[in-house]
């Protein structure tokens, strides 16, 4: 790898600059060290990679198409807009890419019991799905608040045979579900594999999740060269914990001419304090096993995040993003609840695609940004999830009964 490459991180201790690391209780240390060892082994294992590719193709439906959003492009009159359509994956989001990788690892590590945290329920559904496929027990921790607002996914997980454990502690959303999952792991160290759903948590998770998701950007590179015979000018993705965005960005990190934009959830507005924009409005700290930007008070207590999108409602962010922010390689912006809903509606009407609320945040930025670019500018946005799961929330928001 080139000197000065952005792609050579993390270092062997899981650090991205000052971020990342392994801030976990002693009981978990031997487990994450073992996981790292196994992951590094299987990452290079031919059979493992073959099975991952085969199931990616036949089960998930990869490669996901690269779609030229002509109507939207003409409507905005600026950049040429493409969607990388990871919402067409089996289970409706990018989350399954990572779940497939981790479950293949779990099987090889002889773990029969899988646990996961979920916010929007997409990661929960994806985990329940791969567990059904491999005949493994599946327990999903989900905040009570999220169970309310993502009912279709809760029902799906039940159908798939997962057990959902409602989490009422703290803010009853994603951060608390992650606390509970970590508590479960510490209590069931022998037989349990924890499938973390985003590029956060202690090393090796941020690296491992990124690697499994990086298939998105790898495909995109081939596809865009075929269609346009050049690299895009900019890539845009929404940011919850940061996995779909890293998946999109990773293979472009060293292509310095490609601008990268991560869109966080601005909730009701940064100034109201009710948001989930850890990079834009947080400070570095330690939570869930890694050092990263966090939404917290001056005394270091973690604050509740707020977003209309359950999948972005997290007060932290994967450590690699913290480092990419400090180095300036990726630009981080945010979109508020209202803007996301507006973008959501435009996407439905103009493109006939009902997006999840998460990528609707990315789209909200695209609406503003693309309009200001010239027609030669090529922009690719990760359409990382479909909106089926959000219909209730959106109807509620629009005061419509369905």
């Amino acid at each position: 790898m080139k000197k000065g490459s952005y792609k050579k991180f993390p270092d062997k201790n899981g650090n991205f600059g000052q971020y990342g690391g392994r801030y976990v209780a002693e009981t978990l240390m031997p487990l994450i060290l073992e996981l790292e060892k196994k992951y590094l082994f299987y990452k290079k294992d031919k059979k493992f990679n073959h099975e991952f590719s085969k199931l990616s193709k036949d089960y998930i439906g990869r490669p996901s198409p690269l779609y030229y959003a002509k109507n939207l492009t003409e409507y905005l009159g600026g950049a040429k807009i493409y969607f990388k359509r990871d919402e067409l994956n089996h289970t409706g989001a990018h989350k399954i890419n990572n779940c497939l990788g981790q479950v293949l690892l779990a099987v090889r590590m002889n773990k029969k019991r899988i646990i996961a945290e979920t916010g929007a329920g997409q990661h929960g559904v994806a985990t329940a799905t791969v567990c059904a496929l491999f005949g493994l027990e599946c327990i999903v921790y989900m905040g009570k608040k999220d169970i309310e607002r993502q009912k279709p996914n809760v029902f799906k997980m039940n159908l798939l045979g997962a057990r959902i454990v409602p989490v009422e502690s703290g803010s009853a959303s994603l951060k608390d579900a992650m606390n509970e999952a970590l508590r479960d792991w510490v209590s069931n160290v022998e037989n349990t594999f924890y499938i973390i759903g985003t590029a956060a948590g202690p090393h090796p998770y941020p690296m491992m999740v990124r690697d499994f998701q990086s298939i998105i950007g790898k495909e995109l590179k081939n596809q865009i060269i075929k269609k346009e015979n050049r690299l895009p000018n900019s890539l845009v993705a929404c940011i919850g914990g940061g996995s779909n965005s890293l998946g999109l960005f990773y293979n472009f990190l060293d292509d310095k001419k490609v601008s990268l934009y991560g869109v966080e959830a601005g909730g009701k507005g940064i100034k109201t304090g009710q948001h989930a924009a850890s990079l834009s409005a947080g400070k570095p700290g330690v939570l869930h096993g890694n050092k990263t930007y966090l939404i917290q008070d001056n005394a270091g207590q973690i604050k509740e995040a707020h977003s209309i999108s359950a999948g972005l409602d997290y007060p932290g962010i994967g450590p690699e993003h913290s480092w990419l922010k400090d180095t300036g390689r990726v630009k981080y912006v945010y979109a508020n609840d209202k803007d996301a809903i507006k973008a959501f509606k435009i996407c439905c009407k103009l493109e006939g695609i009902i997006p999840a609320l998460e990528p609707a945040h990315a789209l909200s930025f695209v609406l503003k940004f693309a309009a200001k670019q010239n027609k030669k500018h090529i922009l690719v946005m990760n359409m990382c999830g479909r909106g089926d799961k959000d219909l209730d929330s959106i109807a509620n928001h629009l005061n419509i009964k369905i």
């Binding site: 801030y23 209780a25 510490v186």
Partner: protein, 269 residues
């Protein structure tokens, strides 16, 4: 070995062939004044070392009892500064009983490591135990600590290998805390006999006191374990008495103290 309160305490107990009774309380649960009153009273009825929990919003290694205790404390206005003040107030009346602060890294990081250690030293803190700071990530803090002579207490657990035990030892002082079970605080101990086996296995390597905590929820269990362990930590079970006191408006102080007395008797029987 330097002559700090922790070492003096364990040497004395060793001479008497006794095991240390270490009581855990959350700072400011349910209030600063109640914590102070309990801290002051406990050494008089046999508590040898006091562990004070520093409340944190996301205590990922704690069970429901201590989680709720942290929430109550934070609601009552707890902060790291107040926790240190609590120790300072306690120290003005007791210069013997060792005090160990236990908690999570983020509040300390936000205060600043230097500032925290200086204040802890000035307040009379003897040791700190940070749950989410294993040796791999504690270089910064260890450097700051070594000059202050505050002990870095570390955890060992049933998953700890001999190899890891060496690196834990290298960066610990005061005592080492054996987490009896794989689980969160307040979990049940199922196989009390297997604890002894693993404890003894690790103990061979350890040249400082080695205490046992997590899941000790009855004086009977405490007695059993105190027959071989250098010390016993009791936390959730005491905090339950605070909870009961709040729920049925009984006297929190009396509830906790009467249970403390039972443990004290059982441990040094």
């Amino acid at each position: 070995m330097n002559n700090n309160r922790i070492n003096i305490c364990f040497s004395k107990l060793k001479k008497e062939n006794k095991s240390a009774f270490i009581a855990f309380l959350t700072a400011c649960d349910p209030s600063f004044s109640m914590s102070l009153k309990l801290l002051k009273a406990m050494p008089k009825v046999g508590v040898d070392i006091i562990e004070i929990g520093m409340p944190f919003s996301d205590p990922m290694a704690d069970g429901p009892v201590i989680q709720r205790s942290y929430i109550r404390a934070l609601k009552s206005g707890a902060s790291l500064i107040k926790t240190l003040n609590l120790v300072k107030n306690f120290r003005s009346t007791n210069n013997i009983t060792p005090v160990v602060l236990m908690g999570y890294y983020n509040p300390i990081l936000q205060m600043g490591l230097k500032k925290f250690i200086n204040k802890a030293k000035a307040s009379g803190v003897d040791g700190i135990l940070i749950v989410d700071l294993p040796p791999e990530v504690s270089n910064e803090l260890s450097l700051e600590l070594s000059a202050s002579k505050i002990d870095m207490i570390r955890l060992a657990s049933p998953t700890t290998t001999l190899e890891r035990m060496h690196s834990i030892l290298k960066s610990s002082s005061g005592f080492i805390y054996y987490v009896s079970i794989t689980g969160v605080t307040g979990s049940k101990i199922n196989k009390i006999l297997s604890i002894k086996k693993k404890y003894m296995y690790l103990k061979k390597l350890i040249n400082i006191p080695f205490v046992i905590g997590f899941g000790i929820n009855s004086p009977k269990k405490a007695h059993e374990i105190s027959r071989y362990a250098d010390g016993i930590v009791v936390g959730s079970d005491l905090i339950k008495e605070i909870e009961k006191g709040i729920e049925n408006s009984s006297n929190i102080f009396n509830n906790v103290m009467s249970l403390v007395k039972k443990y004290s008797k059982a441990i040094n029987k």
